[in-house]
């Protein structure tokens, strides 16, 4: 064993035990148990491991088709929530990209060192504030008796308060706010390593500004853009606090459905099945981004 000879007995013991515990008992086995659990029926405690504890696809069938007794063919309630979560997360991701890219480019290529450092520090600060409190701040702004409505009423622009929460405006604003910095930093880091001479050269050769961005800067910053998009999508699709606080009374997020299976439905296998579907959707999204941008996983998770 070269490993043991290199590190000595004590050290290799520590390294192997720590990493084994982490990989086996914290990463791999829990995921496998969750998947295993999702293929089982919801049984009372004393029947687990009994004759009824057989593998079944019932939990997944339920997500697509609902109860056999239902009139509708498909379980539209949950399917709609699922697809809305995915599509809304993609929209949030695109919105964050559009908001971040100009500032990231400005900080990385245009601004001088001192100002860039100040802007970066200012960007980091709100990121340290608790996600729930950030959502709470948005609730204060967007509630029907909130500050925006009060201001609009006071200016006489509207006569009835607008229900931003029900219209999901608050939800999308809050989600794009919550994870915007995870879009900013990867793009900034990528654009920063671009040699400014390339931009100058393109300009001297007569490229219009949008050509420079589309064909010079963005292809160069591809790994950063991919990383930012992946992180923001993952976090939005997996967000729980923001939809709980800012979602309207009728709008559910897929994580909220999962939460309800665990805490109100008391049906853990069903909740596990839904969680697994969400995980698969996220993995597919990452693979899609990796394929679209032609980047590796190592470049995304940095």
């Amino acid at each position: 064993m070269r490993f043991v000879r290199r590190n000595g007995l004590f050290l290799s013991g520590y390294l192997l035990v720590a990493v084994t515990v982490w990989i086996v008992f914290m990463i791999v086995l829990p995921q496998l148990y969750m998947v295993d659990f999702s293929f089982r029926p919801n049984l009372p405690l004393n029947e687990i491991g009994g004759p009824d504890d057989k593998y079944t696809l019932e939990n997944y069938r339920y997500l697509v088709f609902g109860r056999p007794t239902d009139e509708a063919l498909l379980n539209w309630l949950h399917l709609e929530v699922f697809f809305r979560t995915i599509i809304a997360s993609i929209c949030v991701t695109l919105l964050d990209f559009c908001l971040c890219y100009p500032l990231a480019y400005y900080m990385a290529q245009v601004a001088r060192g001192g100002r860039t450092r100040l802007l970066l520090l200012l960007l980091i600060l709100p990121f340290w504030v608790n996600e729930i409190l950030r959502a709470f701040a948005f609730r204060l702004l967007f509630a029907s008796g909130g500050m925006i409505n009060t201001a609009l009423l006071g200016l006489g622009l509207i006569e009835q308060p607008i229900d931003f929460l029900r219209a999901d405006v608050a939800l999308y604003a809050g989600l794009s706010y919550a994870y915007i910095l995870l879009m900013m930093f990867p793009i900034y880091n990528a654009v920063e390593s671009l040699d400014h001479n390339q931009v100058e050269a393109a300009r001297d050769l007569g490229a219009p500004w949008w050509h420079i961005h589309l064909f010079v800067v963005m292809p160069f910053a591809k790994p950063g853009i991919a990383a930012g998009c992946t992180m923001v999508f993952m976090l939005s699709a997996g967000a729980l606090a923001v939809p709980q606080i800012l979602g309207g009374p009728s709008s559910l997020w897929f994580t909220q459905v999962i939460y309800d299976w665990f805490y109100q439905g008391g049906n853990w296998p069903q909740g596990s099945a839904y969680a697994f579907v969400l995980l698969i959707a996220c993995i597919l999204f990452v693979l899609l981004v990796m394929r679209l941008f032609k980047v590796g996983l190592g470049e995304i998770a940095r």
Partner: protein, 299 residues
């Protein structure tokens, strides 16, 4: 007015808007904490008050949540810093062929939604508890323990990334020199590797604590009957908005800002000290000062 000036004005306006978006909601929320109005509002201003802060001190549920959050944060540091360190060291030693798959596995928790980490931890330990016939007082069902485990799953990966970044600059000839001079492996580890990694250990511990302290998605599943600051907060915010929550936000923002700024400053000082050429600058300064002093009397 040239087109350059117009462009510059537009960029400035954009940056202004962006930071208004970042800070505006937080600042307004902070202001509502001092308004006597019982619905958190900026207008009408019904008088400046500190009563909402006083209300917090009487809130036992909240205080218990904060206490639990602190303990969980310490537990997460103790678990995820050593694990992250081990993960990073093995990453540098593992066979090149196995490296991508190993990296994919240990980095996967970062890319997994937090709710799924919480659920899988909860289900795994629950099934283990059932398999071992453990009673409900045991660790298998303990909310605090499960939360530490669940959070450490991905916080260890954060720590690993911090250590990996630092290890990339490690000069392995130091290690070889020490071994050639007769040091044992354990001595090399404690006296060369750990001192070199000390700033990274500090960063990783701070990162681990803050991440744990503000985590909600994983915690909400693993915590069960117990409570943490974030779960209490989320429950309160969903029930209704009171200025007491704004007051709490002001305190938390204040504490995290002081922490974040000092962490940022420390980190910068550290990286400046590590930056190539920093030592030379220091040396130059030391040599220039006596010269300057010598020149002063002549002038």
């Amino acid at each position: 007015m040239t087109s350059q000036t117009v462009l510059r004005l537009m960029v400035g306006f954009y940056i202004l808007l962006f930071f208004a978006y970042l800070f505006g909601p937080l600042v307004l929320m902070g202001i509502t904490a001092f308004n006597a109005n019982s619905y958190p509002q900026v207008t009408p201003w019904e008088g400046t008050t500190l009563q909402w802060f006083a209300e917090l001190a009487k809130d036992d549920q909240l205080l218990e949540g904060i206490g639990n959050s602190l303990w969980i944060g310490l537990g997460v540091i103790c678990l995820s810093v050593p694990i992250g360190l081990a993960g990073a060291i093995i990453m540098t030693q593992i066979h090149r062929r196995a490296r991508p798959i190993y990296y994919t596995i240990i980095v996967s928790p970062v890319l997994t939604p937090g709710v799924i980490l919480g659920i899988s931890t909860l289900v795994f330990w629950d099934r283990m508890g059932t398999a071992f016939d453990a009673d409900y007082e045991s660790l298998f069902y303990d909310g605090i323990f499960l939360t530490i485990i669940g959070q450490s799953t991905f916080i260890s990966a954060y720590c690993m990334l911090v250590f990996l970044a630092r290890l990339q600059r490690f000069d392995y000839s130091q290690e070889e020199a020490a071994l050639d001079l007769g040091a044992t492996n354990v001595q090399v580890f404690w006296q060369i590797l750990i001192p070199f990694l000390r700033p990274a250990i500090f960063s990783a511990a701070v990162l681990a604590f803050l991440t744990s302290f503000e985590n909600y998605n994983t915690t909400v599943f693993t915590i069960q009957a117990e409570s943490t600051l974030t779960t209490v907060l989320a429950g309160r915010v969903r029930m209704g908005t009171t200025p007491a929550l704004s007051a709490l936000a002001v305190i938390i923002i204040g504490v995290t800002l002081v922490g974040a700024v000092s962490y940022e400053l420390l980190r910068r000082r550290e990286s400046r000290r590590q930056a190539p050429g920093a030592d030379a600058v220091k040396l130059k300064k030391r040599f220039r000062e006596p010269q300057a002093a010598a020149q002063a009397p002549q002038a």
